[in-house]
């Protein structure tokens, strides 16, 4: 009580609850957005690091001829190698509970405890693994509907189906997340591997190198030494793969997600700053008369500035109370979802100090910075200016818009009507307020609209992927088959139109040292294929005469950024190195850690020595192209191939597309989440400003009522003004959305595809935002108008 000026701050907070809530929410929005992004970032980062580190991950893998434990022991002694582990794996097909066959990468292990590189995390069941038993990767088991105690039918490469008992679940950080590509991993003992018709010797060795794992040159140097030891054992080294050492396999997806989230956070803070400036200037203009009175009573500028900055800090504190826990809650849920998608474990929740500090900055410092200008200009008004209320936002200034709206020609028009004209003039009356409101709303609208555009750019990429998957059913065979035999086998099946015989293989693109290499997926369609419509980034597609030509995709460029069109690269095919000229770079959407190349089938046949007119990947075109029809034909094809004793894995084109869509879909969901968040932020901003505008005009509404304006007319005036401002911001937002969308396209495309996304105009964004803006304008204007018409004229005219 000794300090009434501080009591006034508290009383102002409490007496204008609507204003306090609006101001606190405006700030809380920024705190919330920053909280969600930063807290989720730290949670995901820490969880992924923990997940990855728990596995004691390899830094390099050397592929060679079959070997036993003695080679592993010698490689482990190579200087710089801290651990080595022999591996053998085979791709088999497992029957899910839904009756579908899924590719299962079965890896040979002695026991869980014997693994010292790429360790598996035991998730439940028995720790003892015997013959005829199998461990399943947890995400795959869940996806295939299998449990510990149940059995799985595995179809071997020899065509035999064997039943194994699932005795445990494990988590393999290197396994493909089942949700993305419907492939999984499983683990058996060497004895079981032999029983499955495979070898029980190793064919690759995983090593962990000393020093910094992210230093690719150091890793490569040590891996070369290890490869030398392999050669000393008389074994041929097929390839040495070093794929982003020290990084989680899903790191690039996480980077894209976090980059998007970062962009969201920056934009939200920017929006929040404008909201705060807007709110505080509105607050200051409401307080001008009181400022004048206080100055007349002896208040100094410094005292007033302190008082109002304290008020701003009180709003900030309130906002922190709202935004911080809410942000933490959503961040936890979001991180949980993301980690689940990536098949990683959530860590126990904690609030990262950096996140709290950042949120405190947004809550307490940003409002202060935003408020400084309006508070100082308010406090520095002279008593005369303040008391006569002509201070902060002069109502007397006559710009060209005011002059135009007040011109005789406009006034003599039949439309707009007088009340509507009054609304238009009112909208332009407080120009600095209008500008601030427009900046906030424009920014919100621009981000909202651009998010839809970026989403459509991603969809476009996905649609273009159809160009590479134009076959309706793909038949992947374990053994090469004569193309003629395949054509004869499928041609009379109802629904089948035609077929093309392709070859596909995993090849190594060698480095200049002749030892290290990068794995690529190689597809070799016939040179006259009709099943590819490529999207070229540079150069051209393959021609029939390109004997030693290849085209590579954007993902290949991320592992070999040095390669340009017309450069030559070395492909190791059938243990021989062959020079190929890169004739073009094509664009392939989706998140892939390895590159894809296409070469002519005739070339691959010749160099791999498989014989002529052979195929291991037969593409079937059907009469109808919908998913259901494709599946129907697939079933008929499966029956026919089983009858002909051709062991094959069949997949519809729709399934392949769906699989390639899964990672991009995750980003699209994230973008939509962004859009909703921005709509809330922008919406709140609009509600706030319109609300404040309305509160300021309470007295004016009283005057209008006193000269005969009925309530409906008042509503009409205020709502028209709100909608008018909303419409201007919508138009401006649309314009500003173009550069923002382009910027997001460039950043996201570079991160995801190594090339910028192509801008796509989306009609949905502007339409949705128009609806949102108009609805919010009406709501935000109605609230204060409703309050004003409920007061008596006498109350309103006495209104402070």
């Amino acid at each position: 009580m000794a300090y009434p000026r501080w009591k006034k701050i508290l009383a102002d907070l409490w007496s204008s609850k609507a204003r306090t809530i609006l101001a606190a929410l405006s700030i809380a929005v920024g705190i919330f957005a920053v909280g969600v992004v930063t807290t989720a970032y730290f949670l995901v980062r820490d969880a992924m690091v923990l997940d990855y580190e728990n596995a004691n991950p390899r830094t390099a893998r050397i592929y060679t001829e079959s070997f036993d434990e003695s080679l592993v022991k010698d490689v482990a002694k190579v200087p710089g190698v801290t651990a080595a582990q022999g591996y053998f794996d085979a791709w088999l097909k497992g029957l899910g509970a839904d009756g579908n066959l899924y590719p299962v990468d079965v890896t040979m292990i002695e026991s869980l405890d014997a693994l010292n590189v790429d360790r598996l995390v035991f998730e439940g069941g028995s720790r003892k693994l015997s013959k005829g038993e199998i461990y399943m990767e947890r995400a795959g088991a869940e996806g295939m509907g299998l449990k510990v105690g149940s059995t799985i039918d595995l179809k071997g490469n020899d065509g035999e189906v064997r039943t194994l008992k699932i005795v445990g679940l494990v988590h393999d950080v290197n396994a493909n997340p089942f949700r993305f590509n419907q492939k999984t991993a499983a683990y058996v003992t060497p004895e079981t591997m032999s029983w499955l018709g495979e070898t029980n010797l190793y064919n690759n060795i995983a090593i962990i190198t000393d020093g910094l794992h992210t230093d690719i040159n150091q890793v490569r140097e040590i891996a070369e030494r290890a490869a030398g030891t392999v050669k000393q054992h008389g074994k041929e080294v097929y390839s040495v793969n070093i794929n982003n050492p020290g990084q989680h396999p899903a790191q690039s997806i996480i980077n894209s997600v976090l980059a998007l989230m970062g962009a969201l956070a920056i934009m939200s803070v920017l929006l929040s700053i404008f909201l705060v400036i807007n709110t505080i200037s509105a607050l200051m203009s409401q307080q001008i008369r009181q400022i004048g009175v206080m100055k007349a009573l002896g208040a100094k500028v410094g005292q007033l500035i302190c008082m109002y900055l304290a008020l701003v800090e009180a709003f900030g504190l309130l906002a922190l109370l709202i935004g911080l826990p809410l942000g933490a809650l959503v961040a936890y849920g979001f991180a949980h979802w993301l980690l689940m998608m990536l098949n990683a474990d959530m860590i126990p929740f904690y609030l990262p100090a950096q996140s709290v500090i950042l949120q405190a900055l947004v809550g307490l410092v940003v409002p202060l910075v935003g408020a400084v200008a309006p508070v100082i200009s308010g406090a520095r008004l002279t008593v005369r200016e303040a008391i006569s209320n002509i201070g902060m936002d002069s109502t007397g200034s006559q710009g060209w818009i005011d002059r135009m709206l007040a011109s005789e020609r406009i006034q003599s028009l039949r439309w707009p009507s007088r009340p509507l004209m009054l609304s238009l003039r009112n909208a332009f009356r407080r120009k600095s307020r209008l500008i601030l409101t427009l900046i906030t709303l424009t920014l919100g609208g621009a981000i909202f609209i651009s998010v839809f555009s970026v989403r459509d750019s991603l969809y476009r990429e996905l649609d273009q992927n159809y160009g590479y998957y134009q076959s309706d059913v793909n038949i992947e065979m374990n053994q090469n088959q004569k193309i003629d035999r395949m054509v004869v086998a499928v041609q009379d099946i109802p629904g089948v139109v035609s077929g093309e015989g392709w070859l596909s293989s995993r090849l190594n693109v060698m480095h200049a040292d002749g030892v290290n290499s990068d794995l690529v997926l190689a597809f070799a369609p016939p040179s006259d294929t009709k099943l590819i419509t490529p999207v070229m980034i540079e150069g051209r597609w393959l021609l029939p005469e390109d004997e030693n030509g290849l085209v590579a995709d954007n993902h290949f460029l991320s592992t070999r950024p040095d390669v340009k069109v017309n450069d030559t690269v070395v492909l190791r095919i059938n243990k021989q190195d062959h020079l190929f000229t890169v004739v073009g770079i094509f664009r392939l959407a989706g998140n892939s850690t390895i590159g894809t190349v296409y070469l002519n089938r005739e070339t691959l046949e010749r160099l791999s020595g498989v014989g002529t007119e052979m195929t291991n990947s037969f593409k079937v075109v059907t009469t109808r192209h919908d998913a259901a029809s494709q599946m129907e034909v697939l079933r008929r094809l499966q029956t026919r191939l089983d009858a002909k004793d051709i062991d094959a894995y069949l997949q519809t084109g729709s399934d392949i597309i769906a699989s390639s869509r899964s990672t991009l879909n995750m980003l699209i969901y994230l973008l939509l989440f962004m859009a909703v968040l921005i709509a809330i932020v922008g919406g709140l901003g609009l509600m706030g400003t319109m609300g404040m505008n309305g509160i300021e005009r309470t007295r004016e509404i009283g005057v209008m009522r006193s000269i005969g304006a009925v309530n409906s007319k008042i509503y009409q005036l205020v709502v028209a003004e709100g909608m008018f401002i909303g419409l201007i911001s919508w138009g401006l937002g649309w314009l500003v959305s173009f550069p923002i969308a382009n910027l997001l396209d460039r950043q996201l495309g570079q991160m995801l595809l190594n090339v910028p996304l192509v801008y796509v105009f989306s009609a949905q964004g502007p339409i949705f935002w128009l609806v949102v803006v108009l609805l919010l304008s009406v709501l935000a204007s109605l609230m204060p108008a409703r309050n004003a018409v409920r007061l008596t004229i006498r109350d309103i005219l006495a209104y402070e």
């Binding site: 000794a2 009434p4 009591k7 100094k300 005369r384 002509i390 005219l797």
Partner: protein, 270 residues
């Protein structure tokens, strides 16, 4: 009876030789879109300590501008304004605020109590801004001031719970918070009924009786006759300084009151 101010030997009923307010050739020109508008045309005016002066004039005559020059709410375009030896035309905004808080009490026509503070807090506010009394004494002094205007029983109410007359009593108590030698009242009774206005006027008379210098703008003809001196303003100039002439003028005033009230409303709603 409680005295409204601490006893100051310098503040007697009789004007001292040195004037408290000394305005020298004060001119005020406002810039408007139609060009310059001269609101005050070289005013020379002195007001002695302990005087109760009424400023009278038609709407737009320049009387509020004149008052604003004395309170420092506005600055002269040229000329000098000295109050108790302080050249207020030379003060910075902050110096002005400090001076105003300690040496001047202002009573507005529309009371201007802060709506979110209680009555007693409104009275304590100037003491808080000027750090005039030790914090623990402020409440006691505020209660005493409210007692003198018969408002102590309403001390903890919000202004919105009071009538216009009650609010103006509180405003008078607030103007005396830091015991200033000078009280300026801009049409303090303009928004009150005649009975309440009379009560309010008695309070000002009492203040003057206790040695305060009171300068009041008023339209009320009956009240204007009760001040010790009237200053009549017309077209930005002081035309008369005698009470008899003032009375003659005041008889013609009803039109002026109406137009002035309308003007105030217009400003308030702008």
């Amino acid at each position: 009876m409680f005295r409204l101010s601490k006893c100051n030997p310098k503040n007697g009923n009789m004007p001292s030789v040195n004037p408290l307010i000394d305005m020298r050739q004060v001119m005020k020109v406002y810039k408007t879109s139609a060009g310059g508008y001269q609101a005050l045309k070289g005013i020379d005016l002195t007001i002695n300590r302990g005087e109760f002066v009424g400023i009278i004039g038609k709407s737009g005559s320049g009387k509020s501008t004149l008052i604003n020059m004395i309170t420092g709410i506005d600055r002269p375009t040229s000329g000098e304004v000295w109050v108790a030896g302080t050249p207020i035309h030379l003060l910075t905004e902050n110096q002005m605020a400090d001076w105003r808080g300690k040496d001047l009490g202002i009573v507005f026509q529309f009371f201007q109590l802060l709506p979110t503070l209680s009555v007693i807090e409104n009275v304590m506010l100037p003491m808080d801004f000027c750090n005039a009394y030790p914090p623990r004494e402020r409440k006691k002094r505020a209660i005493e001031l409210l007692e003198t205007v018969d408002m102590a029983s309403h001390a903890f109410k919000l202004p919105s719970a009071l009538s216009g007359g009650q609010q103006q009593r509180v405003a008078i108590a607030r103007s005396l918070a830091n015991d200033p030698p000078l009280v300026i009242a801009d049409e303090p009774t303009g928004n009150l009924d005649s009975k309440t206005a009379d009560t309010m006027f008695r309070l000002f008379e009492r203040l003057a009786g206790e040695g305060k210098t009171v300068v009041m703008v008023t339209h009320d003809s009956s009240l204007a006759q009760r001040v010790s001196r009237t200053v009549i303003i017309k077209d930005g100039e002081v035309v008369k300084e005698q009470s008899e002439e003032a009375n003659d003028f005041i008889n013609t005033v009803p039109t002026a009151i109406n137009s002035r009230t309308a003007h105030n409303h217009a400003v308030a709603t702008a």
